[in-house]
């Protein structure tokens, strides 16, 4: 076991992580800063984001309007101080990225162009065609290369946070290429590991999104906030779950049921107009659109294919020119993976798990309740997204709160002493655990794939778009039994070099923890709000549940759920109105 030391360690090299690491390098150039990632940073899932990133820049728009859209979109579960900070800092962060070279789409006169987006009352979504996340990630990554101070541990997989004397002091990781177990001590650690869509079977999320950071924090004693809020994106391709960006609807695409009828008009989302209308119909928020799909399916008005029910996304009336300039990736993906051309044919789509509103609980500076531990991006819950995130807020969130967490962690680290020797003893224990429970483990009867499939099935049945207490209860039991069966895992790969089976096993254990947090949080929340819809409690209940859930890992290993009040500053809870 080698020991590496740094001052600030960022776990995860996606949008939030890279922004955080640059923030440390710029604000505290004397600190030793490093980013550790289980994939090369440019493979991070930020790369798949398509539609855009929101920030107020145009005349006629206002910070308050952005804040109100975000808060009402989140069904009043957002912390309003966080939202205010977010909308205030968003434009500067986006401009910074422009200065770093992000190829934003432009107006003919050279200014930044913006497009409409779901749930937003005014056009404020910056975009780079429909590969916004890809361009942001590569711009950020290439920009990090100019800072010699930034150290990178590429393809190192974190297995444990080191907590000593009540604060987080580093990580244990395996270096994938060699299988060596390594220790990196740090005075502050920032988790930027993204979401956990892979807890569900049908998701837009990449293979790497297993809730690693959430589980690491949870095991280290930090709570997970609002985990019951799972966003379904209304338009994913059946089978692959590949995302067809909301921008497709923002540019004027229609959602049609099997009769060719724009069904959203039946769900209090406004009247069908030929041109897109903001905060209306196809530009309603994602939770409402996905819920409308389920209702439509119940009425027997969806189509059925080999991969379940679907509806049509119709872009044909936009014409080849708009599709090729504004939505080239949509066309590329449809042609390549669905063998259809959206210029001439309708795209089959269905709701697909897309984003976790919940995550590691942090304050407005990205600090978790565990001193020395920070989080940002989808891994974190600040919370600005409340019960439902608006499209194009998440990329901006990575920048704003990545930078905030970076600065706060750097300031914290600058005031700390080097970690003590007891941290290394913990690391030795972790090394032994990995050797005995995994690498040298023989016998066992359970396959990773089997347990994963059963977890998928459980989550889809219990924690989908609509939930009820009874199925959630059953799911909680099932997950507990899966946790037990995980101890009986059979592993085929006992080698050190690039052992992806070991990674997959550890990822599965992370996902099981996160799945339990989701199910238990959903079970306790006896109301319907945003993306959390309980058929047994169909109404929002502000008296009881205008509060964030906090899932702690109990002494028995099961989640213990507590509540934290929502911060309301200027926008008292109201009714969510769309299309009017």
């Amino acid at each position: 076991m080698d020991r590496f030391a740094c001052d600030v360690l960022v776990v995860g090299g996606g949008g939030a992580g890279l922004r955080a690491v640059i923030a440390v390098a710029e604000t505290h150039p004397k600190l030793r800063v490093a980013v550790i990632s289980k994939v090369y940073p440019m493979r991070s899932h930020t790369v798949s984001a398509e539609g855009g990133a929101a920030a107020v820049i145009k005349a006629g728009d206002s910070l308050d309007a952005h804040a109100y859209d975000t808060i009402s979109g989140g069904d009043w579960l957002s912390d309003q101080d966080a939202v205010e900070a977010f909308v205030r800092e968003a434009p500067e962060e986006m401009l910074r990225l422009e200065h770093w070279g992000c190829p934003w789409s432009r107006e003919p006169d050279g200014h930044i162009a913006v497009r409409p987006f779901g749930g937003m009352k005014i056009e404020r979504t910056w975009f780079a065609a429909d590969k916004t996340g890809f361009h942001m990630l590569h711009t950020l990554f290439q920009t990090t290369l100019k800072y010699d101070a930034i150290e990178r541990y590429d393809e190192w997989f974190v297995t444990k946070l080191l907590v000593d004397a009540g604060r987080c002091q580093g990580v244990v990781a395996t270096e994938l290429a060699t299988g060596k177990i390594q220790v990196i001590t740090a005075k502050a650690v920032i988790l930027c590991t993204g979401g956990c869509g892979k807890v569900f079977p049908f998701t837009t999320n990449a293979n790497i999104k297993n809730g690693d950071g959430m589980a690491l924090a949870y095991r280290a004693g930090a709570p997970l906030k609002d985990m019951e809020f799972v966003q379904y994106h209304p338009t994913g391709l059946p089978f692959t779950g590949i995302l067809i960006t909301e921008a497709a609807r923002a540019e004027g695409g229609w959602l049609l049921n099997k009769d060719g009828y724009r069904f959203l008009q039946d769900y209090d989302l406004g009247k069908p107009e030929p041109k897109p209308v903001l905060r209306s119909m196809e530009l309603g928020p994602r939770d409402r659109l996905s819920q409308a799909f389920v209702k439509e399916q119940e009425k027997g008005r969806t189509l059925e294919g080999p991969y379940g029910h679907y509806v049509h996304l119709d872009l044909r009336h936009l014409g080849a020119r708009v599709i090729d300039t504004k939505l080239p990736f949509v066309r590329e993906l449809c042609l390549k993976y669905q063998n259809i051309d959206p210029v001439k044919e309708m795209i089959p789509v269905r709701p697909v798990v897309h984003y976790m509103m919940g995550g590691v609980s942090t304050d407005i500076h990205g600090a978790t309740p565990l001193p020395g531990l920070y989080a940002a991006g989808e891994a974190a819950c600040v919370s600005i997204n409340g019960a439902n995130r608006l499209g194009s807020n998440s990329l901006t969130e990575c920048l704003v709160f990545g930078a905030r967490a970076g600065e706060a962690a750097a300031a914290f680290a600058a005031a700390q002493r080097e970690p003590g020797p007891s941290v290394l003893a913990q690391a030795d224990d972790e090394g032994r655990r990995l050797e005995e429970k995994f690498r040298r483990k023989t016998g066992g009867h359970e396959r990773i794939a089997t347990l994963r499939a059963e977890m998928h099935e459980t989550m889809e049945e219990s924690a989908g778009i609509y939930r009820t207490g009874a199925t959630l209860e059953k799911a909680a039991e099932k997950l507990q039994s899966l946790q037990e069966r995980f101890g009986d895992l059979a592993l085929a790969d006992h080698s050190y070099t690039f052992n992806t089976e070991l990674t997959a096993a550890l990822e599965l254990s992370y996902m099981l923890d996160v799945a339990e947090a989701i199910v238990h949080s959903a079970l306790r929340r006896r109301e319907s709000r945003g993306s959390h819809q309980r058929t047994d409690f169909p109404a929002r209940d502000d008296a009881e549940f205008l509060a964030h859930s906090l899932a702690y890992r109990g002494a028995d290993g099961r989640p213990r759920v507590e509540y934290l009040p929502v911060t309301i500053t200027r926008w008292p809870p109201g009714k969510r109105v769309y299309g009017r």
Binding site: A177, T178, G179, K180, Y496, T497
Partner: protein, 139 residues
């Protein structure tokens, strides 16, 4: 045989394949590439023939007649036939790749590749016609 005979825990033991001397026969694209590069040999050959022609021209009518006679032998006809095919291959690949190296922009917009390629072919035809006309006119 591998230089590092045994694996040491925690140390990568990469496998590196040496590129074969015959790499350019491994797929059609590579073979086409080497063939394209070899067109230069025929280019040089004909530059040499032209030098030879100039020399005989300077030496007088008899030497020039011997030169012409030499070109009529089956060996030279065959050589020239092959050279012609190779040089034709050179021209085609050269014109087709031209827009890759030379990007022409007119009022900010990139001129499409096919236009650049087309202009190359047009110039080729015009020049070839002009050369034929000038050389044959002197009869």
């Amino acid at each position: 045989m591998s230089a590092e005979a045994h694996y040491t825990p925690y140390h990568p033991r990469w496998y590196r394949r040496r590129v074969s001397v015959w790499w350019w026969l491994q797929n059609r694209a590579y073979a086409g590439f080497v063939l394209r590069e070899l067109t230069s040999v025929f280019v040089a050959f004909f530059a040499g023939v032209t030098l030879w022609q100039l020399r005989t021209l300077a030496q007088g009518p008899d030497a020039y007649a011997r030169f012409l006679a030499c070109l009529g032998t089956p060996l030279f006809v065959a050589l020239h036939a092959v050279a012609f095919l190779f040089v034709l291959f050179h021209s085609i690949t050269w014109f087709n790749l031209a827009p890759k190296a030379v990007v022409v922009r007119l009022s900010g917009k990139r001129v499409p590749d096919w236009v650049v390629v087309g202009l190359n072919y047009a110039a080729w035809l015009v020049l070839s016609g002009a050369v034929a006309l000038i050389v044959l006119r002197g009869r």
